[in-house]
Symmetry: C2
Subunit: 250 residues, 2 copies
């Protein structure tokens, strides 16, 4: 007796056009803070970016994510106050010129963005024992982060900016959103149409930090394991690929 | 004196073709375990998917990721043994029929996949105080997960399968790869060409768990916060979008 063969996708490699679209979304994605427009987000577009999130990988097919749309002015004001408290504490940790620069940066768009969205992880969604989470208990949190990244890329393709607000006491967020103990607030996102997307990440533009050379981030077999002589062509291609990406195309 | 305006991207919304490409990668991405081919992966393709990872969002533009290509047979054998130990422990946690099903699943492709890749997070990469990590210390780990998801989507578009092996004691992995204390092994990935991609996630095909209805995962203003009457059209669009996605297109 043979098992019915599982259905297959028709394509293995996507078309050049499809690949180009994916790479454009990846290279053009930005963390948006200051460019939000007040225009409402279309329901169909919001549904598509949530669907993209829902198709993230998840450990044991757990799908631990939920999506809380934060809309009431009262809730937004509470969230903004929680950010302001945390940001004042954070600013004190940067000294001198670095502290001045920190204070000059706009780091959230909570009140300006038409959509605020908290993506959470319900650690109990599939019971206590989850396939693939037995030895890495953080895997369900990581699955939820994959959902955030899928949504972020879909938003870029749809012309929506996303900003991840991480300067916030998670316990404050938990209290404001009334989350049960088993639910972790993974990402608080501001989402909306934008006036434009910056060509480079804002922190790069403002001289906070620069993009690292890829070849410094690749090792072989162990941490800092050196390349073999035979790896020289690969490392050269890696450098060339990064140069092309800096020009906006892969 | 005015600051020079930062350069902008030419496009806000990507073209219909570009969006389609992104959604195809998102909807067609699978966790691959059993479909790897031995064919080598082209250097240019490997460089592009690593570049996609490097363009993930990162807290404070920290770029905390590194990429260890694990190639020697000795290292692969050690990794496989670490998986086997953890998997034997994991199998004992599932009882009865569930345990039988667990044992029947293929959960890794460590020796079959031509490329093994560990993506790590160096928590010290930008010094002790990182913009955006002050109140959520896990943000650099989350940035690294975004890099994993970017690489996974790029691999799907390039016709490469990726499988995330999470059934492993992270301390064993740390020891095998000789990671310093400040470096966390976030993801151990098997990467390679595939015979085919399954139409549905394998755990869904095999009846382990089913895809959840999106509308059950959306709430308003608080955890389980109910929809208002005015939200009915949005929820209807969400249902329709999920139906279209199940047919493979958004």
């Amino acid at each position: 007796m043979t098992e019915t063969a599982a259905a297959r996708q028709p394509e293995i490699t996507l078309s050049d056009e499809d690949r180009r679209g994916l790479y454009r979304a990846i290279l053009g994605r930005r963390d948006v803070r200051g460019q939000f427009l007040a225009d409402p987000v279309d329901d169909a577009v919001l549904a598509r970016i949530l669907l993209a999130a829902h198709h993230a990988p998840s450990v044991g097919f757990m799908q631990p994510w939920s999506f809380i749309l934060v809309r009431s002015p009262q809730q937004r004001a509470r969230i903004k106050a929680a950010f302001d408290r945390a940001n004042a504490e954070a600013a004190l940790m940067f000294e001198g010129e670095r502290g001045q620069k920190y204070r000059s940066l706009k780091l959230e768009g909570i009140l300006e963005a038409p959509v605020n969205l908290c993506i959470t992880c319900d650690r109990d969604r599939a019971g206590p024992v989850v396939l693939g989470r037995t030895h890495m208990p953080e895997m369900d949190l990581y699955s939820t982060v994959c959902a955030v990244e899928n949504l972020w890329l879909a938003a870029r393709a749809e012309g929506l900016g996303v900003g991840w607000v991480s300067i916030m006491d998670p316990e404050a967020l938990r209290s404001i959103l009334n989350l049960p103990d088993s639910v972790v607030p993974v990402a608080y996102l501001c989402v909306g149409k934008v006036s434009h997307f910056l060509a480079q990440p804002e922190l790069q533009d403002k001289g906070w930090r620069q993009r690292l050379p890829m070849e410094d981030l690749v090792a072989f077999d162990t941490w800092n394991g050196p390349a073999a002589a035979a790896d020289a062509p690969f490392l050269d291609i890696l450098r060339q690929t990064q140069i092309r990406a800096a020009d906006g195309e892969l």
